[in-house]
Symmetry: C2
């Protein structure tokens, strides 16, 4: 009887165990673990993601390799060591380029919705169905996004893709300058301070069709500026470097305007109304932070301008990499799924950075910041402060004519005013870089201000 | 006792069942099924890959959507229906562009080694560590690949990346033409028949630095061609359209040569020796078949030329998309892991296509093909036939001056001779497209030849 009692205890255990086996088997063969060709790559990517770099660096699939050919940490500028935990003392604060790594933590938090798996045979062809160079699905997401944010009208307009706004801006300049070179070349202008790429590109490509002619204000007031001259004005709004919502300066029948709207997103500026210009340029870089993906787009009213831009993309690079288009598709899908999520995150980050910067310079008589009047933002339905990507710092002392040198002496690298066609009394400091870069910048500025003769006392 | 015997039978079952429980649990938590953030994306990609399109189409993650927003088949040109199984009668054979889909089956067979998982935070920055725009790991793979194939010397040379050879070719033209525009512009030439992009790009970008001047032979024999004139010669070897191993035509102290080596891989041509020119251009498109990825590179001897090309990439697009660089890295890693695999596959495919084409036109008095003398190939260590990407078809009849029109009447779209600076008595037929496109081309040609008056009788 003892034996019998014992065996009857086994029965529910066995039943449970068998059921568990069934469940686990179903989990393996029906759940996500059913994966076949993608599982090795997925495991590899997750293993690289798990390499700890102390929050001051990152390992990548195509990254630097260690002694045993394993990916190792690539450390942020001021950190070193195998896990990037060692701070490099007296390290220079880098506030130069607009590398938008302030958004990296958002994507670390949204790893599932933004992960992408690419098959070896994905879109090998030059063209998409219907013989275009652009993904219709991505185009449709971009239209949805503008409608959601309310920062640009896209209805009845064309959309063209490029390798970042960089390639798009050049395509727009070519598309808007007449081909007939018997006319005098189109004059390209931008109001000071302007984003230097406009000048650099026009001068580098050196086309007979256009010449760079400097400041838009100066051009407008020139006595020899005839109304028959073809002009292209670049209007950056919000402006790079100073964050102002610039408007066009030059007008006339032969004036075309390219609106660079790279920073027209609610984390940098209030959105007073959807932009409604003939040619507007946007980029993923300042929206999601993926500068490295090189993806931008233009929203274009005129069909012939659009067609000329498409030709430009064809002859320059046969369109934008399909890999990049797929990545942009996945990222923008994740953005839209999160509602206001990315804008809330980015605004919070930028606002906090501006508050820390303003608090630091509040004590200074030597450095001043650009000023803004808060405006109504239709995205957030409230009056909002500006929190632009860059601080446009002025050295106030008479003798500090070279503000870049002043900051450099304080171990801070900014970008000098004359790069933007302005005086060297100004320096642009990038506020969109990694948290490490920003923290070091603030630390260096605090030190400099605290040592300032005659700094205001709190 | 009966009950007791029954219960003792349970014991091994229970032990086995518990062991199985443990094994399955370990499988789930330690095996590939341990995946976290990548598993949803992986399942999604595998689901799309499983959509059946009868081998005449494909569904993509960013592809066309059905009524319930699910990805649907995108059919090859001559097929239709929900699963692409319906052939469209009287469909035109497309032999126009060099869309290299002949390599797609290779990647379907190597799905595991070529799969790629990209995290949402992958390489968001503008630059790689050490402030470059190019992945060192990818550069090192490219050097390994050239060493393995023996088609180019890369030691002590620089490598620059571009958006396909398209962007690289333009960068090279800018880099090799003097900036000083007080000199007369650099003359750009190429021997007929030439790849039309050289002309199209130079004319489109319309720089004061260079002008297109047509055929290299004609230029060499011109009485006004002074040795002091700056000249750039594009040499395509193997040539597009005719597959010949072209050499430079023009020489002189002020002559620079750009070697377009896009087709210098053992599946298209015997490799007599590694290429050893000052500036050589390659592209992923004609190596792995990933035209859509837009990835190319140049191998450059001179440091200052390399630096100018890097500046070009910076101003044109701030380098090549990091997503594309990661994809190219994964694909080239898979290529190298397979040894001669991809070249064997690609050569077999091209050779079979050439045999079918030659057999079809053997009966014809109307159409002829370019001729080749087999050469020693150092990659395969044997004498080999050419199996180039394109057939350069000549219409032999006196009255068939417009060979493109003759083929068009036969429902075949090629590319007309004058696009390559040649006579319209020639047409280029692309042989690297999908198997469907090739099969339809052969079918149309067979029909045309069989109806030919005076076709040779077998």
């Amino acid at each position: 009887m003892v034996k019998n009692q014992f065996s009857s205890k086994y029965v529910p255990c066995l039943v449970f165990s068998i059921l568990l086996n069934l469940l686990l088997t179903v989990n393996i063969y029906v759940g996500t673990s059913r994966l076949s060709w993608s599982s090795t790559a997925a495991a590899e990517a997750e293993a690289v993601a798990e390499i700890g770099c102390s929050g001051h660096g990152r390992a990548y699939l195509d990254g630097l390799l260690g002694e045993e050919n394993e990916p190792v940490c690539e450390c942020n500028t001021c950190y070193t060591g195998p896990d990037c935990s060692q701070f490099i003392p007296h390290c220079t604060a880098n506030a130069d380029s607009g590398d938008p790594l302030f958004l990296e933590p958002f994507w670390l938090q949204h790893s599932t919705s933004s992960a992408l798996v690419v098959s070896g045979w994905h879109r090998m062809s030059y063209s998409f169905t219907h013989n275009t160079l652009i993904s219709q699905q991505l185009e449709s997401l971009i239209r949805k996004l503008h409608a959601f944010v309310g920062n640009a009208l896209t209805r009845n307009r064309y959309i063209v893709f490029g390798a970042g706004s960089t390639q798009i801006l050049n395509a727009a300049a070519y598309a808007l300058s007449p081909v007939n070179t018997s006319q005098s070349p189109t004059r390209v202008v931008a109001s000071v301070p302007y984003y230097s790429l406009y000048k650099d590109q026009v001068e580098y490509f050196n086309s007979e069709r256009f010449k760079f002619d400097g400041d838009a204000y100066t051009w407008r007031n020139r006595s020899d500026a005839r109304p028959s001259t073809n002009v292209i004005e670049f209007v950056t709004s919000p402006n790079n470097p100073d964050g102002q919502l610039n408007r066009a300066i030059v007008d006339g029948t032969n004036v075309k305007t390219i609106f660079d709207r790279a920073y027209y997103w609610p984390h940098f500026t209030p959105i007073p109304a959807p932009a409604d210009e003939d040619l507007m340029v946007f980029t993923l870089s300042k929206l999601t932070g993926h500068a490295g993906s090189r993806f931008g787009w233009a929203v274009v009213k005129d069909e012939s301008v659009f067609n000329r831009m498409v030709t430009h993309m064809q002859l320059n690079s046969i369109g934008v990499s399909r890999d990049t288009q797929l990545r942009a598709f996945k990222l923008l899908k994740a953005v839209l799924e999160e509602g206001t999520g990315i804008f809330d995150f980015a605004y919070r980050t930028m606002k906090t950075r501006w508050e820390r910067l303003a608090a630091t310079l509040l004590l200074s008589n030597r450095f001043s910041l650009q000023k803004f009047n808060p405006q109504y933002c239709h995205f957030y339905n409230e009056i909002r402060d500006f929190s632009p990507a860059y601080a446009w710092v002025k050295c106030e002392r008479e003798e500090d004519k070279d503000c870049y040198a002043v900051l450099k002496a304080a171990n801070i690298i900014g970008r000098r005013g004359n790069v933007f066609g302005s005086e060297d009394r100004y320096v642009r400091l990038s506020l969109v870089r990694s948290q490490d870069d920003f923290d070091i910048l603030i630390h260096r500025l605090q030190k400099e201000v605290s040592e300032e003769d005659g700094a205001r006392i709190m």
